[in-house]
């Protein structure tokens, strides 16, 4: 009996967390008239969260995929910005995290503390100096202007250091005795065991760069280089008709990464004994 209550409670908690996502996906099948009626708060009666579309239409998806060529072009701008950043950050962070977690070198903990402090600096502060630096490296109006700062963000290092720390030192000492170089230890032992951490970092880093708004607005001059996230931000006050469909389409890549790795996310971080 106790088990049933626990299951019900679990379903309830998951429902609360997933409700907005499901609601959003449901709204993407509604007609634009129903949505504008839903979002118009002036007419005085209370809104109910009905998810059943009055008239199930793919009109929104039809508008986004077929009738707005510039959205699709901007989708690829987002991909060009996000993919190199994610790959760069995963590679750089895994190397540095391994050093911070397992290798001894002078000032290690002090340097790591500086890395944490750098994480907390608000975005507005780094925008102007980065603008000057990128201008001096004449990287402005170039995709690298966002890829480089993104690759070297310290977030990945803190995250992966946490998962590498869970790997017991014994396995490394053993490999060290067999004369394996640190690099081989890194590739043979560390990487396979922190797949969960890598997937989580990929997902979170992907989401950060996928929804980037301020940097492209400032660093890019041409309008054609803007990623889809900027037009997404503009939609919310222009035509409501396509906001949910565009949101769903925008969410699919992140969901793909999530479903690809959602087993690993739990498995390898902690399941060493199990």
């Amino acid at each position: 009996m106790k088990k049933i209550i626990k299951c019900i409670f679990l379903l309830l908690v998951t429902a609360i967390f997933l409700f907005p996502v499901v609601y959003m996906i449901a709204c993407s099948f509604m007609s634009s008239s129903q949505i504008s009626k839903m979002l118009d708060f002036a007419n005085g009666e209370y809104k109910d969260l009905n998810m059943i579309p009055e008239m199930f239409t793919l009109e929104q998806f039809y508008q986004v995929l077929f009738r707005r060529p510039e959205y699709l072009l901007k989708f690829w701008n987002s991909v060009i910005i996000t993919l190199p950043t994610v790959i760069g950050q995963v590679v750089v962070s895994s190397f540095a995290a391994f050093a911070f977690a397992k290798l001894k070198f002078p000032f290690r903990d002090k340097l790591f503390f500086i890395y944490i402090v750098l994480l907390i600096l608000p975005l507005q502060v780094t925008l102007v100096p980065n603008y000057i630096i990128l201008d001096n490296m004449n990287l402005l109006n170039n995709f690298l202007a966002i890829i480089l700062p993104g690759t070297f963000s310290t977030f990945g290092i803190c995250l992966l250091r946490q998962s590498i720390k869970y790997i017991p030192d014994s396995s490394i000492e053993a490999a060290r005795i067999d004369g394996a170089s640190y690099f081989r230890i890194f590739t043979r032992i560390i990487i396979p065991q922190i797949k969960g951490g890598l997937i989580t970092l990929t997902l979170l880093c992907f989401i950060d760069n996928w929804n980037v708004v301020e940097q492209p607005l400032i660093y890019f001059e041409e309008n054609s280089m803007y990623p889809l996230s900027i037009t997404m931000a503009d939609i919310s006050n222009s035509d409501y008709g396509i906001i949910f469909a565009c949101g769903v389409m925008f969410m699919i890549p992140a969901l793909v990464i999530y479903f690809y790795g959602h087993k690993d996310i739990n498995l390898s971080i902690y399941d060493i004994e199990k």
Binding site: F66, L72, L73, F75, W76, V256, F259, K263
Partner: protein, 133 residues
């Protein structure tokens, strides 16, 4: 192992999604133009049907099918090459089996008028101009 099934499925779905979007992006312009109403246009000719034309206002000759309830659709091409239509009101002074004779303040001789359209068009719509008669 069950775990790999998820991975393969996700990989396939991801690859499929990106390929579909790539295909749509490549053909996006063509698809968009395909779905636009196709129109045929003819130039606005100045002239008059009657022998002694009044010189106060310039008279234009427009194809019969272009004038609908005292209104004509004029096309306008912006710098990106996209064509939009604007409704222009005209007053009809005369007609024969081919043309209407009209006068209108906002009609000029270098404009082009829509006389045949595949779908119903409204003021400000984007259209695709088909060549030839």
């Amino acid at each position: 192992m069950k775990q790999d099934k998820y991975k393969k499925m996700a990989m396939k779905f991801g690859a499929l999604f990106f390929v579909v979007v790539l295909f749509l992006t490549y053909f996006s312009k063509t698809i968009d133009n395909l779905l636009l109403p196709k129109v045929k246009v003819s130039d606005v000719i100045t002239g008059s049907l009657s022998e002694y034309p009044d010189t106060m206002h310039t008279h234009y000759l427009l194809p019969l099918s272009s004038v609908v309830s005292e209104e004509v659709y004029v096309i306008f091409t912006d710098e990106k090459g996209e064509v939009t239509v604007n409704a222009v009101s005209v007053n009809i002074c005369g007609s024969n089996d081919l043309y209407y004779e009209v006068t209108s303040e906002s009609l000029f001789s270098d404009m082009q008028v829509v006389y045949k359209t595949s779908k119903e068009i409204f003021d400000g719509d984007r259209v695709y101009v088909e060549e030839g008669e």
